[in-house]
Symmetry: D2
């Protein structure tokens, strides 16, 4: 941590800040510049409260040097982490891309099985589908709950696909973990810290979606919550951020894929469905995500998007999905990956 | 709802969309323009799934006409709602401004009582303080939990101030409601729909903070979740949004105060502490918020911000708070309000 | 400047960076931390190219210590700068607030004179009005050009109000400076560096509007361009930034007023008309801006906004303006300012 | 255009708005809904001033139906436009990708020729390099001006590469057009309407970069300015927008590539250098841009980025560029394009 004193600060203020820093267990080095005095605070305490020092008289600003995340970082683990979606099953984070697809919501048994068969046949490794739905409006369809989980489990028995489904609340973690292979934490819950701890205390892998206004650092700190609670199997998933752009529901930021990979060993997926919000944008963004280095994709597929109960504008249908998979195979090869 | 067909759409596509709209229980009116055909869909169904139609062939875009929120809107209730923080106590939303202040976290009994006395003496009506803290990093101080709630209750006994404190999880609602007068739902939980329902099913008023990337519409829909679950007493609180601005922790958008008041009857508070992130910005933004029409303020005050366990950079100390209150009294009078 | 080396960097890389920094004329101090080695570079070169170092092998990041702006900063001039709009006339930046009002565009002589009379009578000090209009669409009204400037000058003769009008291009600077008292550089031109230099090379004061996506630092650097070219009379004007918010045309960030005043001596105005985009939001934001510490306001006023050729949605009419001025007088007094 | 009346509006207000709309030369259709009355205004006037109506009493909101841009739209021209960078030379917008590369600034003759040879050898079609530099700070290197243009022209003679260089001001258009093959309008000038007209009035193709906070609609309207002034040869270029993201200089939004292609016939390039701001992010974003459907790339290449006078952090060196080109060839093939 670097503490920059203001030009008008006094010797007494400087001494006071040095004392504060040393009380935190850090060593100080003073650098007297032309316009400013700077205190370099040395030591391994990542999370000392910078605010306390920032508010001290005479301080202009604080500059952190260490990233606040630790176990998610490449400093701690240099090689990439690959995470098996099911024991002995396909992994996310190795050479093979992991495509997880399925309807936005589980609506009924037949529709789900039809999609599951198509996902399996086209080369997917996981089946997604919401049983508990986070809806912006209280008047919208809220999901089938446990019945939905049962259908998902049945689809797994039939196809072998790993089941990835969202858990909305601490009170549902046990229930969802009983049926699912991977517990998804949605964008709106990325900083629901109680939920992060709860999924960290169970054993199934966690797919953590980036919050709509989360920085890279906050995203990795959310992963750190899960890992810190005991569960090292966190798959990150970019799904678009909120900006002023009006032609898409969210702004998908693929640059975060190589940016995360530089600082973290965790696998990174991309969700071009929520990341764009329009079916016609899904295919190009699937291709671009893989070209940018994504380890997998989360895609919403519905046999009849027009009649889907949720997210109808952004789901692609089965023939479109099959075409995406064919084109993905070519892109994967061009970047030395495989489907 | 208005459905705009693309110029290249066929008669058959138009007929198909008309049929879809009518199956939703809406009446259709066709308008043949110079470049486009437009379908006006008439009826009181606020939440039909526009996505389904948007994804139909030949459709260019959908334009909703009705706001998706209802019970929070002025259409349903024209006069302003004032909400008593305690039975028979001060209200937020009437002529008197409601100032709620206190430390970021409840740290210990003596500090809390010291602040409570100062808030009461300066004319505040509520005491804030976190017992359960949502922290970006798992390594940070997480709050005193029930012990913190007990200190808050003791401060209420002593001063008469209403206790406003955050509830982080469905599993804590009962516990927090036992001690607090007002349950706060934090910005990170504004779309934690399970929590919104849970606070809607108990009787204490709810202070709902705006999410960092929430639109006005999403903010009011979150309030609608609470009201819809049975609790009409929702106080809205602007606390800054995430933008590219670098000199502040969040961008405080005071314009939302009159914008909400135009479409909703609910009272609106402003939190200039989180809304700016720096102690030196708190006073001017308190004054500006009241000038803009806010019904109350949420202010972090600590006797010794430098040694605060959380948010040290943005808490003001007691003398600063006393000065803010004096200046606020003058602004309040200038806009025909009172402290 | 602080250079943070990555944990994996070598001694040779460190030596190389030290050499680069010293070649820039800076002195280096090495700090060996627990996880990182840090190079503190000391000297008064504000604008050495940090990028060069950032791209050197082994460097993790660069942290600037000095702000890049200089002549606009309080370090160079501690007392506030007040700028006379006309020789011997009213100033912006002193105790008195400066209200500059008028139509979006100069449309015709009579309308302009009617507004000018009303602005003068209500206590304004300047008359705004566009003769050259920056329009998003090439099909929109582009302004009356020199004829508009002549009407503005006539209104000045009649009322004594200072004329504030926008200059769109280097090629118009002479022409506009012949008629206007203050040259406005619009938000879309805040980084039109050729124009900044050109208005810096003439003598009339400059009203510089913040770009829609400008940081505080970029805003002050734009002012620095003007001052550096020879013209110290720069009035800054916040007018809203682009965010995801949907209920307003721009997000007005009043927090920048005290934030600028902390680091710069220049006066700061606020434009609540463009800053909100809707007439009903103008009054509350005028009051809030003054409460936040603004030195003046820029307000669009039109006798008949419905028939205005530009910005009809956001202009207030004359009776509304008169009411704003009355309410402003009360707020001004509450913050020890005067109209 | 759809005009939505508020529920509380009167018959008289409705009649007044109908009259306003009809005075604009549009036909009206009234739709009486359950909660609202809606006026559908039919006719081909794209740019009537919606604001006038929005400000009329009783109006809740206005919803435009037609896009404001016309000549840039696919409605007017359905097939893709390909634009030759030089008469008889390579085009942007056909099956072949157009790679334009070169240093950020033209610094000296030898460096430029070295890069030009490398760009040519690796398969590029254009040479970029700034002779006039838009710099955030007045203290930074501002470019070699005409001398730089002469070096660029010499490099074209030697290699055959088309010269793409930025024009900063109306006063430079003739000079730059004398040497360059393609005139670039930078992001900061995307709404410098005088400059847009000026480049529209000369004959060389224009490369128009998206402003940092421009919507898709504003971007196409800027193109429309150029086309409308007489020059149909506009190449669009995405270069990142300003958001809250902290790990990159801008947020590159590749989704805009297929979104533009849906509504416009103009070719679209991507600039991953400015779009990310860090050399290590350039390669993955080049690959992703082509996978997303971009027609070409603008890449900054410097033989010795560490010693570049501008943008040192984000330029790649020649071996890195050669590797990018090899990988691009594979991606191009995977999406049925070619280098």
């Amino acid at each position: 941590m670097i503490v920059v004193m203001s030009p008008a600060s006094t010797k007494q203020q400087l001494d006071h800040v040095v004392k504060m820093v040393e009380e935190m267990g850090l060593t100080t080095h003073l650098i007297y510049g032309t316009n400013r005095t700077v205190i370099a605070a040395v030591g391994d305490k990542r999370m000392v409260d910078k605010g306390a020092i920032e508010n001290a008289p005479g301080v202009e600003k604080i500059v952190p040097i260490l990233s606040p995340f630790k176990v998610a970082s490449r400093e701690v683990k240099q090689e990439n982490t690959a995470i098996a979606l099911q024991p002995g099953g396909a992994s996310i984070g190795g050479k093979a891309l992991g495509i997880v697809a399925g309807p936005c919501s589980v609506e009924d048994r037949d529709t789900l099985l039809e999609v599951a068969d198509a996902v399996k046949a086209a080369g997917g490794v996981g089946l997604r589908g919401g049983a508990f739905k986070p809806r912006t409006s209280p008047y919208s369809f809220q999901g089938l709950a446990e019945k939905g989980l049962q259908y998902l489990a049945e689809a797994r028995e039939r196809t072998g696909l790993a089941v990835v489904t969202e858990v909305l609340s601490v009170t549902h973690v046990d229930l969802v973990a009983r049926y699912a292979d991977v517990l998804q934490v949605g964008a709106r819950n990325m900083q629901n810290f109680m939920l992060l701890k709860a999924v960290g205390e169970q054993e199934k892998p966690v797919l953590l979606k980036r919050g709509m206004s989360a920085t890279l650092e906050e995203f990795l700190l959310a992963a750190e919550y899960v890992i810190n609670a005991g569960n090292p199997n966190v798959i990150l998933c970019e799904r678009g951020i909120r900006t002023f752009e009006e032609y898409c529901r969210n702004t998908l930021t693929l640059t975060i894929v190589p940016a995360i990979k530089r600082v973290s060993h965790l696998p990174v997926m991309v969700d071009p469905t929520h990341g764009t919000g329009h079916a016609y944008l899904v295919e190009p963004m699937c291709l671009a995500a893989v070209a940018a280095g994504a380890d997998g994709l989360l895609i919403e597929v519905h046999p009849d998007p027009e009649h889907a109960l949720t997210d109808a504008a952004q789901q692609i249908d089965i023939p479109q999905f099959q075409q995406v998979m064919k084109r993905l195979a070519r892109i994967a090869e061009a970047v030395d990956r495989q489907l």
